[in-house]
Symmetry: C2
Subunit: 331 residues, 2 copies
Amino acid sequence: MTGATIRDVARRAAVSVASVSRALNGLSSVHPDTRARVLAAAEALGYVPHAGARSLSLARTHAIGVVMPDLHGEFFSEVIRGLAGAASARGYHLILSNIDEGEDHMAAALRAMRGRVDGLVAMAPHVAPPAFAALLPPRLPTVTINTPDYAGGPALRVDNRGGAAAVARHFVTIGRKRFAHIAGPAINADALERRDGFAAALPAGTPIAMAEGDFTEAGGARAMAELLTTDAAIDAVFVANDMMALGALQTLRDAGRRIPQDVAVAGFDDVPLARYVSLTTLRVNMADLGGRAATRLIDALEGEGEGAGEVPTADLIVPPLIVRGTTVMEP
Amino acid sequence: MTGATIRDVARRAAVSVASVSRALNGLSSVHPDTRARVLAAAEALGYVPHAGARSLSLARTHAIGVVMPDLHGEFFSEVIRGLAGAASARGYHLILSNIDEGEDHMAAALRAMRGRVDGLVAMAPHVAPPAFAALLPPRLPTVTINTPDYAGGPALRVDNRGGAAAVARHFVTIGRKRFAHIAGPAINADALERRDGFAAALPAGTPIAMAEGDFTEAGGARAMAELLTTDAAIDAVFVANDMMALGALQTLRDAGRRIPQDVAVAGFDDVPLARYVSLTTLRVNMADLGGRAATRLIDALEGEGEGAGEVPTADLIVPPLIVRGTTVMEP
DNA sequence: TTGTATGCGTTATCAT
DNA sequence: ATGATAACGCATACAA
């Protein structure tokens, strides 16, 4: 009931299991006749190697684990897509385990990966670095994506500060004077970096009206409404992500503000919707990030023992500023 | 280098591996003192059970495999999200393997699942049923999503015909007379069902101008342009999916047609963008579909041996028609 | 070239 | 309650 095993094939081909293994794995030292008999027997029995047993024997699973919170949906999906593509191209599987439900659940998910994967790709922008490092199974190669400086291995990060700074400079260039920022959750590392990067790139001492959202469209709308009551004179608002920016735009329009004449708005992420509403934003290609992460991890996994330079480099991916109709008039 | 094993723990706690296993898995028959010693030793060594070995011994992986093409992006992501949520809630992992690159690659991916998962969730709207069935590893419980009637197990399907029929009736209700349809790829089962369902629900003998797209926005635009040259008088077009509908809308507007006064347009899927462009469409909740699939599979996996009724039922999920501004004037 | 035997890490059976 | 040991399915030294 569990399918034919290598022993069944051996029996049918009248050879030893060792020969079956060798024949099926294409080892050179096996007589053509033997190989033929084995192949025929395997075919006849519909034999499929048992990946689990193979992994145990080889100490190699050809799978990479992915741990990340289900946070703002768009990302999750894009990263997975990139990961899956790159992994699949190199013959690796992806093992998913989302970690919404609290830190203990997350610890369990992380532990369950041992013996199941060769390495890990982790994304946890909301957890304190030390806690996260402690949760990781020891000796499991890991590359992190947008995770607050975890020093345990290669890391891929979006240049949040640089992106935010580009927006600040853009606002100044188009002559804006009264700035506002709608930030993401304070526990989110990306959110903090975007806020700080924006502030740091404006002329020293420039006041910035602040509000905090939750990365959702509704949250952005609420935050914008809040800003309008406290600082009605603003003429440029940088929103920490696109979804909130969409909400903010709606609130502004409902309040009779013209975009971009009265108020310029910029987001972050460049979600598919951004193009449709002509939102100025920073393009972060999450699929590409996922692909890079997978490639990087697999390179490390397969290069074990040769490369002397196992330097845990941290790549900073700079998101380009996409200028659209919410900051400048369109033709 | 491979982490502490159960033997290391046994040695440190000065007990047998059997006792360690029992203590760690919470079996009753183990002395409190022993359990305490084992727990302490495991903690001290940072012991994490090896999932692979555990699976081999238990003949249970607590993982479910997911095979699907990367087709039109939105879906992929949503289904995965639903699957991951439901699986995670029941303590199962997800193993991904996308199967873009040809049928042989797909066969390999399918085979590689054996010994790695307890069951499969498969979605392959583009493959002929017999071929697909042949590829599946034998004796691996499988639930399919939107896969042309594969008779081997439970199936979840979107009611494409019913949804398309609802659009047809809606068009008639709002007084349209000259119909067109932009279909998806002819090898796609969903596409065919949508086309046929639309045609069947219109009054008998009603002519329908036809064009074929590739499920992409650009493809929809091209197909629409084509229709305009051959059948300029159309006043209602049903597009096989939302992405193509977006392209079609653009083409229509560029051609000076007013929506919905001159031409009514309806899509299929209700992607996030649909709400923004106020596109009338059918809402198919792919995340929900994924969740149901996972739940269904796990129920089957864990109910083995008890339920006499292992009937491979096929659920038809009916997508509701969401009427928006591309078919009726908005307030 | 081929076969025998051992190990991968864990659980479960059977004694004790 | 505990320990020795045989599976689980496969790969691979080591012999032959």
